[in-house]
Subunit: 218 residues, 2 copies
């Protein structure tokens, strides 16, 4: 895989979204798209979009725009989506089950191969045909199976302890759904989905939006 | 509520995280914290943190740092967390259920008052003591109840249609968990949790991380 470390995080963060929008267009049978049209959908300026894509050597053709399918594939390659990733889910609660049931991942190369929980009543259940295993067997499991990603959906207070078990194993990435700030070893990448942060952002902007409306009508 | 529209989105986005970290410190009995200590936990530079907080008039005291409890409360006020928000969840699948079961929201002023689904087998069920109602009754429900936020956990293809039903209602915010790019009226704020985007970012950085390690050892 090419080294894109020269590209800023802000640009990288927009790529999955571009790819998703291109996928939607492709499903609708759209063959090519201008940066202006992408701008209307994505809400960034057309010049920003052109700049973003230029980073990766993706150039639209003057008057024709970008080839939708090719650009989607190019972005997928940049994101490493040609690889296959094996995942385990730690925590078989509602959120863990929701993730295990979200079969859409399979299509794009992400495969959940086991779920772990400490609750003996959940151990042995199958969720979306994936077995729930005893959390006590996690270390042994990681020694005997190639797993790339661990999804943490435990309670907040267990998140760091669970991560410590993952250190030194085959795990290279953690997808953390707990509110905890987790310390990870250098060879593990962490991506956080802090749901309460997202909800707080929503209500912040609702308040700002409400304020603006009140001012306008006064 | 004060108008903080002069503060950049990048700064605002860090606030919920600062607040969460301060909450953790407060739970551990920590009374004051320096920007250097915050920097170690949050991973931003101390000067960045000081700049961020200065935007809101929160000043640490030289040699003493920030008062943890007061700063947490100040950030909460900026984020509008003193308000109470009524929420409904659209879609009673695993993710909708996970959100309905995440009772932590209640403590911080977010209350889920109903869940809607099109599936007649789910209608009438109670999840975390919240009733699942028929999606067909949504418009009527919104006319008779004060609701602030709609959480969309339907399938992607229904997301826009559901949003169109919300337009013109009491709803002021949408928390969108589907992969859809939704068009919302100007008086509604939208916050997206695009899980697949987050997963793609994780694997992008895993690949970049792996590459770096390979180069170093060669």
């Amino acid at each position: 895989m090419k080294d894109y470390s020269f590209v800023s995080n802000t640009v990288i963060k927009r790529l999955p979204r571009y790819r998703r929008i291109l996928g939607d267009l492709s499903e609708k049978g759209v063959k090519s798209v201008s940066s202006t049209e992408l701008s209307r959908i994505a809400g960034y300026t057309a010049s920003q979009i052109r700049q973003d894509l230029n980073n990766f050597g993706a150039f639209g053709q003057q008057g024709y725009g970008y080839n939708v399918e090719r650009l989607q594939r190019q972005i997928g390659e940049i994101l490493g989506l040609r690889n296959e990733y094996k995942m385990i889910v730690l925590g078989a609660g509602n959120l863990g089950q929701a993730i295990a049931n979200y079969t859409h991942y399979y299509k794009s190369g992400y495969q959940i191969i086991a779920i772990f929980d400490v609750n003996p009543r959940l151990v042995g259940l199958r969720i979306n045909d994936i077995e729930v295993l005893d959390a006590g067997s996690l270390t042994e499991y990681l020694e005997n199976n190639q797993v790339d990603i661990a999804v943490i959906t435990t309670d907040k207070d267990s998140a760091q302890a669970v991560t410590d078990v993952l250190a030194g194993s085959c795990i290279r990435g953690i997808w953390n759904f707990t509110a905890a700030e987790i310390d990870v070893p250098e060879d593990i990448v962490i991506e956080n989905v802090h749901l309460s942060d997202s909800l707080h952002m929503l209500t912040y902007y609702m308040n700002q939006n409400g304020l603006r409306i009140k001012e306008l009508s006064s």
